[in-house]
Symmetry: C2
Subunit: 194 residues, 2 copies
């Protein structure tokens, strides 16, 4: 009963409190940007800064909780066969492709895909912060602070499972940035489990 | 002509395009949370995620530019006698003190101080993301991703100077979190230079 998100596109859906969301990388080395907002008030969204502060770390895996900008738990990771995800960077966008890749007619990126998918829920671009970038592999030098986007560590059928700690609106993409996915755009699969 | 921000409080002010903002730590080991929004549309605010992406690093110093959520340059660092600041964490808040320090009657923190100071400009709590935490010293293990808040590296009279790349609304605090300031609350000084 899983759904496939085609390459370089996105989806949005409700995830009830207590339900589980499984996100699968069917072919391997593909990133999925995950956005989450509290359904009761969509101005309450995921916050990397709050989460880093409370967890005292920037890499999340099993047992870790993503907090909102109002310090409520939104999602907890229950299973994770990959173990490396990014929570530092914002979704790729037309600006990303213009500035980083020099594209003159840039793709709208994950940001554009999220904005379109989240519009029916009244969530606009300004509300979309750094997302939880599932399977994204950002190497970091703790001394210099330099970051490098590397191919994801996910193999075919790698997955991660979250539990919703609140009633949520979720946005999810099959990422559009060449570097993030080792220069090959692939689909992402997801499944909502009761 | 500098102004002093008393311990555990905050200020907001306009900074015209091209003007310089000097932030001084008069006694040493004190943090100042800096918020910036584009005055022309205050929904456009500083973005740590965009900045990390474009600079390919998480530590900023001389020559580095802070970008907005719409990928515009907002502020560039011109001088910096300290060299270590944080852009990972959100401003301390009543929730921070409740969750991290276990306070039962928590201080409103930098977030509360920024919300009050920015209210006349129509900027509310939901618009305040991870700030640029001047002089805040967050050590990071690049392998495990663990972070540790350490005493600032700033000595008495240490300072940083920014140039405004747009007409801006600035929020600035003398930080309220014990750990960030080596457990001693001190003032912050600032000066606007033409």
């Amino acid at each position: 009963m899983s759904e496939v998100i085609p390459p370089r596109s996105g989806r949005a859906f409700r995830l009830g409190k207590g339900a589980r969301l499984k996100v699968i990388d069917p072919q391997g080395e593909q990133v999925a940007d995950l956005f989450a907002a509290f359904a009761g008030d969509t101005a309450e969204v995921m916050s990397s800064g709050r989460t880093f502060d409370y967890l005292e770390k920037i890499y999340l895996s099993v047992g870790d909780t993503i907090y909102s900008n109002r310090s409520q738990p939104l999602l907890t990771i229950l299973e994770d066969t990959v173990g490396r995800h990014d929570f530092l960077l914002t979704p790729c966008s037309a600006d990303t492709f213009r500035i980083i890749y020099g594209d003159r007619d840039p793709h709208r990126g994950c940001l554009g895909n999220l904005v379109e998918a989240l519009a029916p829920y009244g969530i606009g671009a300004n509300a979309i912060p750094a997302c939880f970038n599932i399977f994204m592999n950002v190497e970091l030098d703790g001394v210099t602070g330099k970051i490098a986007v590397k191919p994801p560590l996910s193999k075919a059928s790698g997955f991660i499972v979250f539990r919703a700690e609140q009633d949520l609106i979720i946005g999810l993409t099959a990422c559009s940035a060449p570097q993030s996915n080792n220069y090959s755009f692939k689909p992402i699969e997801f499944e909502i489990l009761p």
